[in-house]
Symmetry: C2
Subunit: 120 residues, 2 copies
């Protein structure tokens, strides 16, 4: 079946959550949002492109930092309301310079930092 971005289920802002996973290590790197046009641009360009809710603009991941995400494969969930993008990540995915945004773990009721920023 041909894939049509319009066939996905978007929320009332026209957005769908997209989970970015490192295709080489399977590490979950980040979660951000796409609209239908961002989904189409990601597939066409091979560069993962989100919709920035704070700036209300397209956000080609890594465009300013160089920490790009090259699309390896896009996957759709059973409800068609969440995307998984498997990527080749250049440099850290997180704006804090950590590999992943999920660097805080909850252990025995305490928040523990489990990942250090990469050397700049």
């Amino acid at each position: 079946m041909p894939f049509d971005p319009a066939s996905l289920t978007y929320d009332d802002r026209g957005l769908i959550p997209a989970i970015a996973q490192d295709a080489a290590t399977d590490e979950v790197l980040m979660m951000a949002w796409m609209n239908a046009e961002a989904v189409a641009r990601t597939l066409e360009s091979g560069r993962v492109t989100y919709w920035s809710r704070s700036r209300s603009e397209f956000w080609v991941k890594g465009e300013s930092s160089g920490h790009v995400q090259e699309l390896v494969e896009m996957r759709v969930d059973c409800d068609r309301d969440c995307l998984l993008v498997r990527v080749r990540q250049t440099g850290p995915a997180c704006h804090t310079n950590r590999r992943s945004c999920f660097y805080t773990a909850v252990r025995d009721g305490e928040e523990i930092e489990i990942m250090a920023p990469e050397a700049g």
Copy 2:
């Protein structure tokens, strides 16, 4: 720092997305939603508990199907508006009886099913 579910950033429905990842294989299994009480219950019980938007009730994953998710570790992202729950998954995570909800891939513009339902 002690972890407080109230310190997370919830959307205007009081919900935060939670990505479930198999702690053994690193496979991304599903994405669902939690409210602050679901976060607290998950940590207290060790059984991953979501908030069902369609039924407006707590949803202890696997309570009816037996396909429970035992919490291995909860992680918080840099913006504190998304959770990653690393789990020990019993049986398939998806209601279609597939291991993961992300069983549809987009390849060359076509939707391809990459995962079969498990034998019942």
